[in-house]
């Protein structure tokens, strides 16, 4: 009995042992099934849910001016995320975040709620927040608020060089200017990393696969100091004469390096364009908006004449009436008689220039216009450069050579004019303007951007003759306002009537322009000023801008003076008197201002003018020597005390 029971027990134990063994075998089989046979499949599933590929932003390269001043830099800022899965309550979160980040509370609440319902791992609340916002949020120490570093473009000088630099879009990609044209170099290459995340998509550990490569730093030819002065003067001139747009280019004629390039109106590249905003402010007028160069072009016509029809500065041209292509060619102011080539430039005679153009002939005229670089892009490596407008010679009308001679039937950008003017300044070589001087990869060596070899456009003697004639323009002709103290100057004014394409006629608004160079013996700079929509001539609107810009640029570049400060000596008396008057003026200005009548200064000497004016409580701006020939405003006009009266004296 005992043994029988024992035997049964042992049999039953064996049954249990076998059951357990079977169970263990099943476990073993399942282990092999999962860990060996289907390992790869599960490894893929694990990777898919655990690993998030992340991009490591590469810092964008800096843009520097020629002296290493930073014009565009990238700074690290925070972007705020929340983890909706860990959000205690969407409404409370919206209440907390909205006021700090200046967001709409209801809208944010909706976004948070939607993300939470969809079980999203993260939701970007606001990109690139300010430092103050970031600090305020961090001080809350809420675990569901997360931050990520992003780089943001910053232009420390606000508008200075804005058109050249351009700007970046929300993805930090260039959308204008150097930023766009050189985007690939500047951008660098983002790195990649594998982020191990937990089940709520929270990053635990990051494994870098490829390091980010920072963008290349670019050094521009611009000089920030000159650029700043240029923009200031351009703005004052355009706003002061109620014009619409304007542009200035300052260039080294020997190397083609563009030292300053300004356009008006301007914009702040730090601000993102808003919808409905006037995009015109972002237009780089200097390279993108060609206009008829007008009288400026006479310089190039005369240069072509010297080389092709043996014109000399003293050659006399008949400058009577001229009918060209069925229209009468008008002079800008008065009718001239026969005059020398030098005078044609100095007084800016349309008829004279047209006759030179006709004599040169259309074939050679076209060739020289091309030699000066018109009708094709300068290749400045900026986006949206216009080639200007120049018809091929086959399409010229019989009168075209005459009209082009004084800058009609052709359109050029300010930078094209600067390029052409440089030909004369540097002794006859067409040097392409350049904007980017060198580039430097982070940790790498500086790499100069190669300049195109210059092409000869004029004989050196021609260039010298032209410079002499251009000096006369400033000394005796239309460009007197461009005279510099201490430097010889050559230049040319231009006042192209603006053609109204709708009305098909020329309007009474002008593209007032001035191109010039200094010092004349070996010009360091070429400056071209174009002001569009002016109601005065180039000599009055654009030449003073040249004067101020050139003075500042020569000072900044430390160019040695080539003249004693003769101009000041000449006007010592005048200036002393004016200064005295000014001082008295100040005293007067403190007494209550009463409108007075402007006396008639005509025929008075300088001393008399100043005395009379100060008695009336007026300031005078005196120009010239001798007796008063003209005054502005006219006699009898009502002016408040302390106002200025301009008088022109002549012998």
């Amino acid at each position: 009995m005992e043994d029988r029971a024992r035997g049964q027990a042992n049999r039953r134990l064996t049954v249990l042992a076998c059951a357990a063994a079977l169970w263990a075998a099943a476990i073993l089989w399942k282990l092999i099934h999962l860990q060996v046979l289907h390992h790869e499949e599960y490894a893929r599933m694990a990777e898919a849910q655990q690993i998030r590929a992340v991009e490591i932003a590469a810092p964008r390269g800096d843009i520097l001016d020629r002296n290493g001043q930073k014009m565009a830099i990238s700074v690290e800022v925070d972007t705020v995320f929340v983890n909706p899965m860990r959000l205690p309550d969407a409404a409370v979160a919206a209440e907390v975040l909205a006021p700090v980040l200046n967001l709409d509370r209801a809208g944010l609440h909706q976004r948070l709620k939607a993300a939470k319902e969809e079980k999203q791992g993260f939701l970007r609340v606001k990109r690139r927040i300010s430092r103050a916002e970031s600090e305020q949020l961090r001080s809350l120490k809420l675990e569901w608020i997360e931050f990520e570093k992003e780089s943001q473009r910053h232009y420390p000088n606000i508008t200075v060089g804005a058109h050249v630099l351009g700007a970046v879009d929300h993805e930090e990609k260039g959308n204008g200017g150097v930023e766009l044209e050189w985007n690939e170099e500047l951008e660098g290459r983002p790195g990649t990393a594998r982020m191990l995340t937990d089940v709520r998509r929270r990053g635990i550990e990051q494994q870098v696969e490829t390091e980010p490569k920072a963008g290349t730093n670019l050094t521009l030819c611009l000089d920030e100091r000159i650029q700043f002065a240029v923009e200031r003067e351009l703005r004052e001139a355009v706003e002061g004469s109620r014009c619409s747009t304007g542009s200035v280019v300052v260039m080294n004629p020997h190397t083609g390096e563009v030292l300053a390039m300004a356009s008006y109106p301007s914009f702040d590249p730090n601000k993102r364009p808003e919808s409905g905003e006037d995009q015109a402010a972002r237009l780089n007028v200097a390279i993108s908006a060609p206009g008829e160069p007008g009288s400026l072009f006479k310089v190039f016509t005369v240069a072509a004449g010297i080389e092709t029809i043996h014109l000399r500065p003293e050659s006399v041209m008949p400058c009577g009436h001229l009918t060209l292509g069925g229209r009468t060619v008008h002079e800008a102011k008065h009718f001239f008689g026969p005059m020398s080539v030098a005078e044609i430039l100095a007084k800016s005679s349309n008829v004279g220039a047209a006759q030179i153009g006709l004599r040169v002939g259309e074939e050679r005229m076209y060739e020289y216009v091309r030699r000066f670089g018109f009708g094709r892009r300068t290749g400045l490596q900026l986006p949206a450069e216009s080639p200007g407008m120049l018809r091929r010679v086959e399409n010229w009308e019989p009168a075209s050579a005459g009209y082009i001679a004084f800058g009609h039937e052709i359109a050029a950008t300010t930078v094209q004019i600067a390029q052409a003017c440089s030909v004369i300044a540097n002794g006859g070589l067409l040097v392409k303007p350049r904007m980017v001087l060198k580039k430097q990869k982070p940790g790498g060596i500086e790499e100069k951007i190669a300049a195109e070899p210059p092409a000869r456009a004029l004989r050196p003697e021609t260039a010298i003759k032209m410079r002499q004639m251009m000096e006369l323009v400033v000394l005796q002709g239309t460009g007197k306002a461009a005279r510099l103290s201490g430097y010889t100057v050559g230049g040319k004014t231009g006042s192209a009537q603006i053609y109204d394409f709708e009305a098909k006629r020329y309007t009474h608004a002008y593209n007032a322009s001035f191109m010039g160079m200094a010092p004349l013996t070996n010009p360091s700079i070429v400056v071209v000023v174009t002001i569009n929509g002016a109601h005065e001539y180039g000599g009055a609107v654009a030449a003073p801008v040249f004067q101020k810009v050139a003075t500042e640029a020569l000072r900044v570049l430390d160019v040695p003076k080539d003249l004693p400060d003769a101009a000041t000596e000449e006007t010592t008396d005048t200036e002393r008197l004016v200064a005295d008057a000014g001082r008295r003026d100040e005293a007067v200005a403190k007494t209550p201002v009463k409108p007075g009548r402007v006396p008639d200064f005509h025929g008075m000497t300088m001393r008399a003018v100043v005395e009379t004016a100060s008695a009336e409580g007026l300031a005078v701006l005196v120009n010239g020597r001798g007796i008063v020939r003209a005054q502005e405003p006219p006699p009898g006009a009502e002016l408040p005390r302390g106002s200025r009266v301009r008088v022109l004296l002549a012998k």
């Binding site: 039953r12 134990l13 282990l31 694990a46």
Partner: protein, 380 residues
């Protein structure tokens, strides 16, 4: 008698080694979670270490206590009595889960602590009535006692109740209970089990989802969707599938070689309860086949040594004690591993000696201490 000479070295070293291995795995599974929740990577492992220290002392004490001293009505009824009191207390005090009994700084889990008591009681009772095992005066009281305790455990922890039930059945089976009673017992177990399953939506959802993932069959049987709505009431209705899927990913991604100790990734909250019910998944993921098969081998060794002890023991109490302990530990281990490998519905039982949790560790090592003693002293 020099104690050392008689030690069942295989069992002893396997147990102690596995317990320390468990400590390492608890650290690996919890360090990140502990860092995030308690700002200390060692939060859990320190607690587990203290529990391990206490449990080893208890194990060594019981190992040195001759099993004859446990073979008394006092021990059997006192332990069961204490367990019943604790189960009643936990039912009242933890009114939601009926699982945790908080006494001072101690968190007691009566369902775990009931296990040594129940194997002691079974061994004592069956040994006493070995000659009349099929007598109704044996069966009825046994059924009452075991049934009450199992029901009490089942209130909180169905998985452990199933383990206890299987252990009791195994002991009675070997003791010679006639087969017809097993039919009756099976019917009772089925009825009670069904009640327990259906009474909690999450339990039903786990079972149904195991057999019918997408509720296709449920939709066909019940087009109105009443059952589905009932299942949806379980807060974690997607959990079963999700948990099993994540567990399989952990085991599968580990592959033959494993990702390396502490390099597992599924413990980043993809695995639910990575340090308790699913620690075997972490072992498989980090240590590959070497880890998974070693753990299986340890429990097979315990099974082998336990059955060997059962066969060799001269007296009935020793036999049934060894059998009960072996069954309860091995069944629990196999069940846990089956859940991890998605071979059975999720039950929520820890892996003996390895999972984090002091109560389970204490109960398991106490039983291992007794088993070692029987192994050392029980041979004829």
């Amino acid at each position: 008698m020099p104690q050392l000479q008689k030690t069942d070295k295989k069992l002893f070293y396997a147990t102690v080694g596995t317990a320390f291995f468990g400590l390492v795995m608890v650290y690996s599974a919890t360090s990140i979670m502990a860092k995030l929740r308690y700002q200390s990577t060692t939060h859990f492992v320190v607690q587990q270490g203290i529990a391990l220290g206490i449990s080893l002392v208890v194990m060594l004490l019981l190992k040195r206590t001759h099993y004859r001293n446990l073979r008394s009505p006092a021990v059997a009824f006192a332990t069961v009595g204490v367990v019943v009191v604790m189960l009643l207390a936990v039912y009242v005090m933890d009114s939601r889960q009926h699982r945790w009994l908080r006494l001072g700084g101690l968190n007691l889990q009566p369902a775990e602590l009931a296990k040594p008591a129940i194997v002691l009681f079974l061994a004592y009772f069956v040994a006493q009535r070995a000659r009349a095992i099929n007598d109704k005066h044996t069966i009825m009281p046994a059924l009452m006692a075991v049934g009450v305790v199992t029901l009490g455990i089942g209130m909180a922890d169905l998985g452990t109740a199933v383990v206890v039930g299987i252990t009791a059945a195994a002991v009675f089976f070997v003791a010679g209970l006639e087969k017809k009673y097993f039919g009756v017992l099976a019917l009772i177990a089925l009825a009670v089990g069904t009640y327990f399953v259906v009474s909690k939506p999450y339990r039903l959802a786990r079972i149904v989802q195991f057999f019918d993932r997408e509720y296709k069959l449920v939709d066909r049987i019940d087009p109105k969707g009443t059952i589905k709505n009932y299942l949806r009431r379980s807060s974690a209705s997607r959990d079963t599938n999700y948990q099993m899927e994540q567990s399989k990913i952990a085991v599968g991604a580990g592959g033959p070689a494993g990702l390396g100790l502490t390099h597992g990734k599924q413990k980043l909250f993809y695995l639910p309860e990575a340090h308790t019910d699913f620690i075997y998944a972490v072992i498989c993921e980090e240590l590959g086949l070497l880890g998974s098969l070693s753990v299986l081998a340890v429990f097979l060794l315990i099974l082998y040594r336990g059955l060997r002890t059962t066969l060799q023991s001269g007296d009935d109490f020793a036999r049934y004690l060894a059998l009960g302990i072996t069954t309860i530990i091995v069944v629990q281990a196999f069940m846990n591993m089956s859940v991890v490998l998605a071979m059975g519905p999720t039950k929520g039982i820890p892996l003996p000696m390895i999972s984090s949790g002091g109560n389970s560790l204490l109960a398991t090592l106490a039983m291992m201490g007794m088993l070692m003693n029987v192994s050392e002293n029980g041979a004829q």
